[in-house]
Amino acid sequence: MRQTIAALMQDHPGALNRAISLFRRRGFNIHSIAVGPSETPGVARMTLVVDAEHVEQVVKQLNRLIDVIKVCDLTDQRTLERETALIKVHAPPGTRADIVALCTIFHARILDAGSRSLVIELTDTPATLDRFTDLVRPFGLKEMARTGQIAMVCPAHRERPGILVPAGATSPAVELEPNPFAV
């Protein structure tokens, strides 16, 4: 099952290595990982999409790392998810108009055009990126790069300031963390 986890960690050399090493050791498959600065200087935010049945163990093991400041399981929460893809697609004059039409439908931007190909940028949910890719693939998908998914909890979902209330929080072992993402 696909799970989304967000972690805030100190921006130290080796911190990312430690986190990823955990997944390798426990045999969890990482679908996507995105790391970048957070709102706090010196603190990086990592968004992971993993295949894991026991996400509670993943969260606990990540929390065990000294560099990791906060971990949130976002799977059962209402979140905003975004990912960006750069796609180079085969686009000779005969099919170019069809591809441009698809881009319009999906609100994708055409970044550059050559005589026989286009480079398209699309920022949306990972599922929409998948659909768009499926649609342009028959035209000849020459190259693709995706950033990995990032996610943020919807602001309306907070009951108390600073506290995340997981939508399906039934397990007593899931601890409610002060929301590191709502400051």
Binding site: Q10, Q57, I66, A173
Partner: protein, 569 residues
């Protein structure tokens, strides 16, 4: 103290500031600046030169395990550092506070495959609680403070500090007031009050409750609190391998060890109990057997300082994250007094049925000295003496020691449990003997494990240590593997027969006293003699070669399925 210091001097002063008195190590190229500074501090820092870095690491572990303080070992880069991997893994598995300091090649050479360069922080990533690579001497005061803090708090564990050679040589004015920067590290000590009262309610309602005490009880100094809780509630107590000594084995409520080599009545009690309170143990597979069949009728209360241990192996009904002593004290305050004499009597009856059938006592024809002769004699003699510790290695002798010696005091039993590191005992005894010069440190080991690290006999001699006594349970086999081969692999003794040297002569060669015992009648005298001898003694107990540890639960089976006798031969 605004004077400039070299990084190496700062390292020494940082160690002193952390209260370190002894370090175990071996010098080499990349750690030479540190060793150059060391003599300036030799009135406060005692360096013990070991014969192998693995020995230095285990010695630091032995120091930590018998004192509760952080053990420190030092090695150079490359092979020096990789030789520390085994003790670091051992400390990781047994939650031992250890700080390993390694030299690293100069920062300009990092990543170039320079002479004696290995990525030791990378290699030890999955087996350290945390690690640091220091290239700037200005960071050293903060790094050492953080390292000792992390190693010795929460669930304790090993921390590695890798310092490049240029960082040891460069000069700077140390800032000893640099604050720790650990926003993600906040161990929980106090148990959640609601969960504690829920646990108290479960215990009060239980008709067949059990307490299982693990190593965390000893680390947190909770033995007294455990005794108080058990006596107040009348609940029988099981002690795991690392829990040996957490509860006195001669107490009326003490049941003994669970698991693969646990007693029949203990494992049966676990399978029958309705509430199990596990405090400071992590449900190791050697305790649970097949985890899905473990304690099937029990509601489980798990007290552990490490949240990630809770729910890892078995389902838990009441999770309590916290320090064993604090939680047990809180529990004892609110739990109702109880009387479980009926339940206890049931277990004792089962015990009586099985005790006389313990087949390890059967003396095969033609053999004179059985392993249990040694343990029973040791137990008799130890009863009349105080001030001793026993360090065991890994294998048959280790299980016999856990089963056959009555452990009465916390900290008297030290062994390599989680990692199962053969060769642990002799160097660990070296560390313990230095930490506790007024106590007698007994090593009980096999002839296989002894030969993995026995070069530390030279260190013991060089350091003038006189309080180590080594009992080798010598059966000429890698005995536990041989036992499995006998029971499960058609008696094919592949790679297990072992012909050792003359251990008594070997001891003499190292300047110690050596003895050899092969008759049951000689055992008591030998142990007494060794105990009273002013100096290190090695006794080679030449025991029956094919004695087995029983009961045994075959690996992966339920702890309800015990073999109490070997296959018919």
């Amino acid at each position: 103290m605004s004077e400039q210091r070299t990084g190496a001097q700062i390292m020494c002063e940082a160690l002193i500031r952390e209260g370190v008195e002894v370090l175990f190590g071996i010098p080499g190229g990349a750690i030479m600046p540190f060793y150059h500074a060391l003599p300036e501090y030799d009135d406060r820092l005692r360096h013990v030169l070991c014969r192998h870095e693995q020995g230095a690491g285990h010695a630091a572990e032995g120091y930590a395990r018998t004192t509760g303080r952080v053990g420190v070992c030092v090695a150079t880069s490359g092979p020096g550092a990789t030789n520390l991997v085994t003790p670091i893994a051992d400390a990781w598995m047994d939650s031992t506070p250890l700080v390993a300091v390694t030299g690293q090649v100069g920062s300009a050479l990092l990543g170039t495959d320079a002479f004696q360069e290995t990525d030791i922080t990378g290699i030890t990533l999955p087996i350290t609680k945390h690690s640091f690579l220091v290239t700037d001497p200005a960071q050293l005061p903060r790094v050492f403070r953080e390292a000792f803090h992390i190693a010795s708090t929460g669930r304790m564990g090993p921390v590695l500090i890798d310092v490049t050679k240029d960082a040891q040589q460069a000069r700077t004015v140390p800032n000893w007031d640099a604050p720790m920067d650990l926003p993600g590290y906040r161990p929980t000590y106090e148990g959640n009050a609601r969960q504690v009262s829920e646990a108290a309610r479960l215990l009060a309602e239980a008709e067949r409750p059990l307490i299982m005490a693990g190593g965390g009880v000893i680390w947190s100094g909770a033995a007294e609190a455990l005794l108080g809780l058990a006596e107040r509630t009348g609940i029988p107590v099981i002690t795991t391998l690392h829990g040996k000594g957490a509860f006195p084995d001669d107490h009326p409520l003490a049941l003994g060890m669970p698991g693969m080599h646990g007693w029949v009545h203990v494992n049966r009690a676990i399978q029958a109990c309705d509430v199990l309170l596990n405090v400071g143990g992590r449900f190791d597979d050697r305790v649970t057997g097949k985890a899905s069949t473990f304690a099937p009728h029990a509601r489980i209360i798990h007290v552990d300082i490490d949240p990630s241990e809770i729910g890892k192996i078995v389902r838990v009904d009441v999770p309590i994250v916290g320090d064993a002593r604090q939680v047990l004290e809180a529990l004892a305050e609110i739990v109702e007094c109880g009387d479980r004499s009926g339940w206890l009597a049931e277990i004792r009856e089962l015990q009586a049925q099985h005790e006389h059938r313990q087949s390890y006592r059967r003396r095969p024809e033609g053999s004179s000295l059985m392993p249990h002769d040694v343990y029973e004699a040791f137990d008799r003699i130890a009863r009349s003496r105080g001030g001793y510790r026993v360090i065991t290695d890994v294998g048959q002798h280790q299980m016999w020691a856990a089963q056959l010696i009555e452990w009465r005091d916390a900290g008297t039993h030290v062994t390599s449990g989680g990692a199962g590191t053969m060769g642990f005992s002799v160097p660990a005894a070296l560390g313990a003997a230095i930490a506790l010069p007024d106590e007698t440190i007994w090593v009980i080991c096999g002839d296989g494990g002894f030969q993995m690290t026995n070069q530390e006999l030279a260190t013991i001699r060089q350091e003038g240590i006189r309080n180590i006594k080594i009992a080798i349970i010598d059966n000429g086999y890698l005995g536990m593997v041989r036992q499995w081969q006998e029971l499960f692999n058609e008696r094919r003794y592949s790679g297990t027969p072992l012909s050792g040297p003359d251990f008594a002569l070997l001891a003499e060669a190292y300047g110690h006293r050596g003895m050899r015992v092969s008759e049951p009648g000689e055992v008591e005298d030998a142990i007494t003699d060794a105990w009273d001898h002013d100096g290190c003694v090695v006794i080679d107990f030449q025991v029956e070669r094919e004695a087995n540890v029983f009961p045994i639960v075959p690996q992966g089976r339920s702890i309800g399925e015990m073999m109490t006798e070997g296959v018919a031969q």
